[in-house]
């Protein structure tokens, strides 16, 4: 196998491993639209990065974190419903990003690559970024696991029991922002949240505890990355959609297989 596919595989597995537990929180807390918004806004980050000629990875992380912070502040003020707010930001930033990209004729960029992911573009430097950020998010999740879970199950109960609810919510949003920013290159802006949502949904059926669901999601995510990249390598399909299609197959199987067994009995 060639070098680039191994790099893509390592990067994809790092992301899938962290996306399992983080995505479980996104599912439990109904934050999927939130993830979409952050993903879409990262295209604006790319556009600004190109315009100002700075490191694209840093530009994407900066814009993702900026919009995450903006969302936290706007959410607290409650002037508009969160749903509307997310809709405006998601599509506003995506459109704005596309507009800037189309106006800047200086660089020819691979727009499809950013929208749907392109594993050919994963370089050694990207691998370092992905590895470091995944490790950071994994460490934070491990450290604050119990608190994050308590806040997710019942926020007010957790607050009365002395859990720093506001800080943990902000941490959660920032972790999602960071993971989305680094995994954009491999999965693409438009499909990134599916790696956060589909594996936990597939693992839900068989899990008895939150931890089982989180680790099951990591496993499903990892298998989806392997399957998707193989598909992409042998049939030359785009990386992001291939991974997502594989994950969807796992999701359908997780519902069909137990149903078949119960019918037989």
């Amino acid at each position: 196998m060639t070098d680039f596919i191994i790099k893509a595989l390592i990067a994809g597995l790092c992301i899938a491993f962290v996306a399992g537990p983080l995505g479980s929180f996104v599912v439990w807390r109904r934050m999927s639209y939130f993830g979409d918004t952050l993903a879409h806004s990262s295209l604006l980050g790319i556009a600004i990065g190109i315009l100002m000629d700075i490191n694209l990875q840093i530009a994407v992380i900066a814009s993702s974190v900026f919009f995450a912070g903006l969302l936290i502040v706007l959410e607290r003020n409650k002037t508009l419903s969160t749903d509307t707010l997310l809709g405006i930001l998601a599509h506003g930033t995506l459109a704005f990003g596309m507009l800037i990209l189309s106006l800047s004729n200086t660089v020819q960029i691979n727009l499809m690559g950013y929208l749907f992911g392109d594993l050919l573009t994963i370089g050694t430097q990207d691998l370092w970024w992905i590895g470091a950020c995944s490790a950071l998010v994994a460490a934070l999740l491990l450290k604050y696991w119990n608190g994050l879970l308590a806040v997710t199950v019942h926020e007010e109960l957790a607050k009365v029991e002395g859990v720093p609810v506001g800080k943990l919510h902000a941490l959660m949003v920032l972790m999602v922002a960071l993971l989305i920013a680094v995994s954009m290159k491999i999965i693409g802006v438009l499909l990134i949240t599916s790696l956060l949502i589909i594996p936990p949904a597939a693992a839900r059926k068989l899990a008895q505890t939150p931890e089982q669901m989180a680790l099951g999601a990591s496993l499903v995510g990892g298998l989806s990355v392997c399957g998707g990249l193989l598909l992409s390598y042998f049939w030359d399909t785009p990386a992001g959609p291939s991974i997502v299609v594989t994950a969807c197959c796992f999701f359908v199987l997780s519902y069909l297989v137990p149903a078949l067994f119960t019918n037989k009995n």
């Binding site: 119990n146 308590a150 019942h154 007010e156 109960l157 009365v160 939150p210």
Partner: protein, 250 residues
Amino acid sequence: MDNSCLIKAENISIQFGDRQVLQNVSLTVKQGQVLTLIGPNGAGKTTLVRIILGLLKPQSGHLEKPKNLRIGYMPQKLHVEATMPITVRRFLELARHKSSAPISEILEEVQITHLMNHQLRSISGGEMQRVLLARALSQQPQLLVLDEPAQGVDVSGQAELYQLINDIRARHNCGVLMISHDLHLVMAKTDEVVCLNHHICCHGRPEQVSVDPSYLALFGKKEAKNLAVYTHNHNHHHDLTGEVVEHKHD
């Protein structure tokens, strides 16, 4: 503030938009004391409890509680997301401190040991209330705050639940602040009743009056002793907007 005083709220007021929800509400809860908040829907009972818990800031007034007061809070209800797989045991573990009693012990106290490994979503309303009570107990509370603890529990289960709360109060010698609509069940075990309708209409010791034969039949003798009717003599009533109207003497 004397030592046995757990909560001292003075002249608490809060307004949501144009609506005055609480107006100069004062109350104290002492160690070992049961205070029951009663009042019509929308009277501000839950708002007052949320202020006392520190979940909401009053616009004016003063709230005093001892430093590091351990509060066990039982929310009105718990909605568990369908996507969240969690057992009763894991749910209780979320709130554990180093000094908490073992989970099996707490479950025994609320008599639901058999539910330990059940999914939280699969248990009944009455069982859920006990799980929430267990979670409150895991804080080794000096003060228990219960928001309609018997909500969604069938009639005979309600009496059992209030009996349990009374036993817990006696065993742990904690203060209890409770919102309840089940006057006939809680009054005999309540030290102080506060009737709230945006302001405090009246407060004091409940009167133990009579025992209704139909309740006697329903609950049996032990619970029947706890039953009493609280008569409260209003010196005013409320008009449709909730404004106080003094009684006319003619």
